[in-house]
C-alpha cells in the first residue's frame, strides 16, 4: 500500500529547525504566511521585510528575497520597495515593540497612504528579543522586567489596540486580529492571512493581520499556561475579529 503524504512543510519555508523557544507562536505565524504564499504561487515575486525582534531571523526560514529594516522602520522600507516594484508582493513582519512603539509613526502613515503592502504584526505583549521588557501591548497588571510591580495605567498607560486603531483609516483595506492558541483559531488565522495577501494581489490597499502570540520565556509560564493566559486575560484586552474587510470592487 502506497503511503500518501498528507502534511508537509510549505515550499516557501526552508527545512531548518526554528530557533524559537518551545511554545512560541512565531513559528506558527511563519508557517501560515508561507502556506498562503504557496497557495497564491507568489513566492518568486514576494519580498519579506522583518522588523527587529525575535522575528528578524525570518530570512533564515523563508525561502524568498528578504531585506532587513531598522527597528520599527519596516513599513517605510516596504514603501520604498513597493514603489519601485509595484508588481511584487511586499510584506513586513513586526513585533509589538517594533510596530506599536518605536515604529508607530511609520505604520500609521504607511497605512494612511494606502500603501499596497501587507503587515503581519506579532503581539506577544512583551519585548521578546531584548529580555521581556514592557511593550505598548503589555496587559494591565502584567509583570515584565521593566514593570516589576505590574503595568499600572496611571504611570504606563494602557495596552494599545493596533487593529482597531488602524482599521478606520481610509487607506486600510483589511485589518484583523487573530490568535494562534488553539487549532480552531489557527484555522481562522489562516483565512485572515490569505485574505490579507489577496487584498494586496488585487491592489486594494493596506492589509494588516495582528496575531496574539505567546512568549513563554518572558511570560515565565509553561506553553500550556500561556494558552490559558491568552484564552483568558489576553482575549479580554485584545478581542479577536475582522475590523475592516473592504469588498472587492
Amino acid at each position: 500500500m502506497a503511503l500518501t503524504k498528507v502534511f508537509t512543510r510549505p515550499d516557501s519555508l526552508r527545512d531548518i529547525n526554528f530557533h524559537f523557544c518551545p511554545g512560541c507562536h512565531h513559528g506558527t505565524a511563519h508557517r501560515l504566511i508561507c502556506e498562503a504564499i504557496d497557495y497564491y504561487g507568489i513566492r518568486e515575486r514576494t519580498i519579506g521585510i522583518p522588523g527587529v525582534g525575535c522575528g528578524v531571523f525570518l530570512y533564515n526560514y523563508f525561502d524568498l528575497d528578504v531585506c532587513e529594516a531598522p527597528h520599527g522602520r519596516a513599513p517605510a522600507v516596504a514603501t520604498g520597495f513597493k514603489r519601485v516594484l509595484p508588481q511584487n508582493i511586499i510584506f513586513t513582519y513586526q513585533g509589538d515593540g517594533d510596530l506599536g512603539s518605536i515604529g508607530m509613526s511609520e505604520v500609521i502613515h504607511t497605512a494612511n497612504r494606502g500603501e499596497n503592502i501587507t503587515v503581519f504584526f506579532i503581539n506577544n505583549s512583551v519585548y521578546g528579543m531584548t529580555g521581556g521588557q514592557m511593550a505598548p501591548t503589555t496587559l494591565l497588571g502584567q509583570r515584565t522586567t521593566t514593570t516589576p510591580y505590574g503595568r499600572d495605567f496611571r504611570t504606563e498607560g494602557y495596552p494599545i489596540r493596533m487593529a482597531e486603531m488602524l482599521a478606520p483609516l481610509e487607506g486600510v483595506a483589511f485589518a484583523a486580529r487573530v490568535s494562534l492558541h488553539t487549532p480552531t483559531q489557527v484555522k481562522k488565522a489562516r483565512k485572515a492571512v490569505l485574505r490579507a495577501l489577496d487584498i494586496q494581489i488585487k491592489n486594494m490597499g493596506f492589509s494588516f493581520v495582528e496575531f496574539l502570540c505567546a512568549c513563554p520565556t518572558n511570560w515565565g509560564l509553561s506553553p500550556r499556561q500561556c494558552i490559558e493566559k491568552i484564552d483568558g486575560e489576553m482575549l479580554q484586552s485584545f478581542p479577536l475579529g475582522t475590523y475592516k474587510n473592504r469588498q472587492d470592487s
Binding site: 532587513e68 529594516a69 522602520r73 517605510a76 514603501t79 520604498g80 514603489r83 519601485v84 511609520e106 497612504r113
Partner: protein
C-alpha cells in the same frame, strides 16, 4: 539640451539627479532645501517617477533604503535637523552596502539653529554620522554647475561602491542662480545582481547588516575598510590653482571657496603669490594633495564657515612643520574677501614655523 540656462542651485541639483536616471524621491520639508521637493513633485511625474512626501526624515531615509535595495537610483534631501534624524538609516545602508543619495543643504546649527548657510555639518558628513565604522561618500559643489555635475557623479560613485553618498551644499548654493550647461553624460546604469526583485529563477537573496556569528561582523568591517581605502586611492576630487613660488596656500570648500577665490584675485593683483586648493570630495579627503602642496608652500590658510572642522583634516594632511591658520566664521554670515585678504597679508608677514592658530572672521 546643452544650451546655457540660468538655474537655481536646488533646481540644477534636481535636474542632475534626473539626468542620472533617478526616479524616486522621498523627503520631508525643511528650509532651506524646499525648492528641491517642490520642484521634483512637479518634475518627477513628467518622467514617470515617484515623489513621496514622507511623514518624517526617519521614514524618508528608510524609503530610500527600500528603493535602493530594490535596485533603483533614489534620493532624499534635507537640512541639518533632518539629516540628524537620518543617521540610523544611513548607518544601516552603509552596513547593508546599499547605494543612494542624500542631499544636505545645510543651515546653521546646533539644534534648531537658524536657516542661514553654514558649513557646520562637515564633521557629521565626513565622519560617518551614525553608529559604527563607516563613511559616506561626500561631494561638495561650489557652483550651480557643480550642483548638477556632482549629483550625477554622486549617483555613479554610490552605485560603484555600493555605499550611500551625500551632496554637502548649503543655503547659499541652494538658493543662488547662475548660468549652467545641462550636459548629461551618456546614461549607463550598472547591473545590480544583488538587488532584491523576487527569487524568480534564482536563489533567494538577502540584504542585511546583522552578523551575529563569531567573527563575522569583524570580517564585514574589514571588508568595508578595504572599500574605503580604495575610495581614498581612486576617487579623490580636488581643484587646484597654483603658481610658482607661492607665499600662501588657501584651502576652502563649498560656497566659502567662492569668497576665497575673490580674495585670491585681490591678493594676486597686489603681487602676493597665492595658491588655491579646494577639496571637492570631502570624503575621500585630498590628503595627498594637501601634503604635497603644503610642503611646497609652507604657509596655509584654511577658510571655512564653521569654527574649524575641515581644519582637522587639513592639519592631519599638512607637511610637518608648516605654518597653518584657520580663518573661521560659523556661518550665518560669510567671511568677506577683504577679511580673507587681510589674513593672507598677515600670514605672508609671519615668519616660518609651526603655528596652528584660529582667527575669527
Amino acid at each position: 539640451m546643452s544650451e546655457r540656462q540660468i538655474l537655481k542651485g536646488c533646481v540644477a541639483l534636481a535636474e542632475g539627479a534626473i539626468a542620472a536616471g533617478y526616479r524616486f524621491y522621498f523627503g520631508y520639508p525643511i528650509t532651506p532645501q524646499n525648492d528641491i521637493p517642490e520642484y521634483l513633485s512637479a518634475r518627477l511625474p513628467q518622467v514617470g517617477g515617484v515623489f513621496i512626501q514622507a511623514e518624517s526624515e526617519v521614514a524618508s531615509i528608510n524609503m530610500l533604503l527600500g528603493a535602493a535595495a530594490a535596485g533603483a537610483r533614489a534620493m532624499t534631501s534635507s537640512s541639518g535637523p533632518g539629516i540628524s534624524l537620518m543617521q540610523e538609516g544611513l548607518s544601516y545602508m552603509a552596513g547593508s552596502e546599499l547605494p543612494g543619495l542624500v542631499v544636505n543643504i545645510t543651515r546653521i546649527g546646533p539644534g534648531l539653529g537658524g536657516i542661514a548657510a553654514s558649513q557646520g555639518d562637515y564633521r557629521q558628513a565626513t565622519r560617518g554620522g551614525g553608529h559604527g565604522d563607516y563613511h559616506l561618500i561626500v561631494l561638495a559643489p561650489n557652483s550651480v554647475q557643480e550642483m548638477y555635475d556632482l549629483t550625477i557623479k554622486a549617483f555613479y560613485l554610490a552605485d560603484k561602491y555600493r555605499n550611500p553618498a551625500m551632496i554637502l551644499a548649503d543655503a547659499i548654493l541652494g538658493q543662488m542662480k547662475e548660468p549652467i550647461f545641462l550636459n548629461p553624460p551618456p546614461l549607463v546604469l550598472p547591473e545590480k545582481p544583488w538587488a532584491l526583485t523576487g527569487a524568480r529563477g534564482k536563489k533567494a537573496q538577502l540584504i542585511k547588516s546583522l552578523y551575529l556569528a563569531d567573527g563575522e561582523m569583524e570580517q564585514h568591517n574589514w571588508h568595508l575598510y578595504e572599500k574605503y581605502r580604495r575610495l581614498e586611492r581612486e576617487e579623490v576630487l580636488v581643484e587646484t590653482d597654483l603658481q610658482e613660488k607661492m607665499d600662501v596656500l588657501l584651502v576652502s570648500f563649498g560656497s566659502c571657496s567662492r569668497m576665497v577665490q575673490s580674495a585670491l584675485d585681490l591678493a594676486r593683483s597686489r603681487g602676493i603669490r597665492v595658491g588655491f586648493l579646494r577639496p571637492i570630495s570631502l570624503y575621500p579627503f585630498p590628503q595627498q594633495a594637501v601634503r604635497e602642496v603644503s610642503r611646497e608652500v609652507g604657509k596655509v590658510l584654511v577658510v571655512e564657515m564653521n569654527t574649524g572642522q575641515m581644519w582637522d583634516d587639513v592639519r592631519l594632511s599638512l607637511y610637518p612643520g608648516c605654518r597653518a591658520r584657520l580663518l573661521a566664521r560659523p556661518g550665518g554670515g560669510i567671511p568677506a574677501p577683504g577679511q580673507i585678504l587681510a589674513e593672507i597679508e598677515n600670514l605672508v608677514k609671519a615668519g616660518d614655523g609651526i603655528d596652528e592658530s584660529v582667527h575669527q572672521a
